[in-house]
């Protein structure tokens, strides 16, 4: 029996008495590439934080590779949404990615860690800029560095919050190329509010707006989307070259 990467049963969570996630049920298989789409404020980031073990649900169960999320941290890589940190921070590309290999209090980074950083930077084609200070990177380069930081632990589950937000259109192609290489090694889940950004590379799609409305292979999801957005599907599947949903 293979373990599911993520298994969520009857998950609910509240902030200040307001229900953010309501009775969520879904699972992600190993090496699945899943996109969760939904409007802003629909609870996407909250759901990711529950999977990461940063938030504890009020109700329901969350398992990551059969474990409590807090005990599965070694298995997960994370690309946060916000990139509003101090760009002048005294740190270079290499040191930024190295943090992804953190082992624990008072434990040094080993040679192996250094090699892993170089490899991760090669994966995102940023190894030549490893000594550059982060303020001297473009938005797209910065995003690659953070992807490298997320994959440098060789995670089995890669979690990405709005990865397309700071990637320019020309970079989208190379981003999905990277994802298709990575998905042979790990399960990937990304959230996005922009349906057009989700490409045919995704295996499964789900819609989240407080409730998780649909979960399944990409092609059949048209009706689910309509239900969440309450608007005709053509309006939101505007990314014609990367069309997600078949015409209907």
């Amino acid at each position: 029996m293979t373990l599911k990467a993520v298994e969520i049963n009857h998950l609910s969570i509240k902030f200040n008495e307001q229900l953010i996630l309501n009775d969520i049920n879904f699972s992600i298989e190993e090496k699945d590439f899943m996109a969760i789409i939904g409007p802003n404020g629909g609870g996407k980031t909250t759901l990711l934080k529950v999977i990461l073990g940063l938030l504890t649900p009020d109700e329901g169960k969350v398992k990551v590779f059969g474990k409590d999320p807090k005990k599965a941290k070694d298995l997960m890589g994370y690309l946060p949404q916000r990139l509003d940190f101090d760009h002048d921070f005294p740190i270079n590309v290499f040191e930024t990615v190295l943090m992804g290999r953190y082992h624990g209090l008072l434990k040094k980074y080993s040679n192996q860690d250094h090699k892993a950083v170089i490899q991760a930077l090669k994966d995102v084609e940023m190894d030549e800029l490893k000594d550059r200070q982060i303020s001297k990177l473009s938005g797209g380069q910065m995003q690659r560095v953070f992807i490298a930081r997320a994959i440098v632990r060789d995670p089995k589950l890669l979690i990405m919050d709005e990865p397309m937000a700071s990637i320019d259109p020309e970079m989208q192609h190379s981003f999905y190329e990277l994802m298709s290489r990575l998905k042979n090694k790990m399960a990937i889940v990304l959230v996005s509010h922009d349906v057009g950004a989700v490409s045919t590379h995704v295996d499964k799609i789900a819609c989240l707006n407080q409730k998780l409305y649909y979960h399944g292979p990409v092609e059949d999801s048209a009706e689910g989307l309509e239900e969440v957005y309450h608007c005709p599907i053509e309006l939101i599947s505007h990314g014609i070259p990367h069309r997600v949903l078949k015409e209907h």
Partner: protein, 264 residues
């Protein structure tokens, strides 16, 4: 000018300037990159409560300030997690409550508190040998903690959320960092006083940050710069017979403006 340093109080003052500079170069670098300047202000003002307590109990006020500033640092750090009080509000409350406690203890103490003013605005020329020993030991503690936890402090300063994701207890590390600020406040309290401490935390590190993108180098440059500038302030205050803490701050501010002008 060298005859200045024949005086013992001047020699002590110079040693104090070096000890203070180590502490504010190292800890000030974190204060600046983590953007906790106003938090450091609250910790330094809260430390004044400890100074008052020291007077009241008849112990060295600098020693009495240690537990006071550490407790206030940790409570500001934890308040956001345990209650729904914002850090900003906690800073505002602790800032003035610490001062108020200090004043009340001094009221309760019989007699007159002669060098009270020096804890407010600093007085590097009245630093005693005991003060120097305390500052020296605290500097060693600070350097040891920074050396041991440099990876954690860097991670938490840069990205707390990601630190949690990789299994680092960001809140505990943050509290330890604030405790470090508290110890550093105690090192600085006699030299510049609670009101002027922030200038020492901020200015040397802020100037140095314009010239390096490496945290270790930032600490080294900030320390050297602080030694030069506080010594210069000390000498000027002696020559012109001005309050030492205020003169040091004005020298720092002038250096900041000049460096900003050169870089900008």
């Amino acid at each position: 000018m060298l005859e200045l340093f024949q005086y013992q109080f001047m020699q002590r003052a110079l040693i104090a300037a070096v000890l203070v500079s180590i502490s504010c170069g190292v800890v000030g670098s974190y204060v600046v990159i983590k953007k906790i300047v106003s938090l450091s202000g609250a910790i330094s003002h809260a430390a004044f409560g400890g100074v008052g307590l020291g007077y009241f109990l008849g112990v060295n006020p600098v020693l009495a300030a240690i537990p006071f500033s550490i407790i206030s640092a940790i409570s500001i750090g934890g308040v956001k997690q345990i209650t729904n009080i914002s850090e900003d509000t906690a800073i505002g409350i602790l800032w003035s409550v610490g001062m108020a406690i200090g004043v009340i203890f001094i009221n309760l103490t019989p007699g007159y508190a002669p060098d009270l003013f020096s804890y407010l605005f600093g007085s590097i020329l009245t630093v005693s040998n005991t003060d120097l020993y305390i500052m020296f030991v605290l500097d060693l503690v600070i350097i040891a903690i920074v050396f041991l936890f440099r990876r954690e402090f860097l991670a938490v300063s840069f990205d707390e959320e990601f630190s949690n994701v990789v299994g680092l207890h960001a809140l505990l590390v943050y509290m330890l960092l604030l405790a470090l600020v508290a110890l550093s406040v105690v090192v600085l309290i006699k030299v510049v006083g609670v009101i002027l401490i922030r200038a020492l935390f901020t200015i040397p590190a802020a100037i140095s940050k314009q010239y390096t993108y490496n945290l270790r180098n930032l600490m080294i440059i900030a320390t050297i710069l602080a030694i030069i500038l506080t010594s210069l302030g000390l000498i000027l205050s002696f020559i012109f017979n001005l309050a030492s803490g205020a003169t040091i701050v004005m020298v720092l501010a002038a250096a900041f403006l000049i460096s900003y002008y050169i870089k900008g």
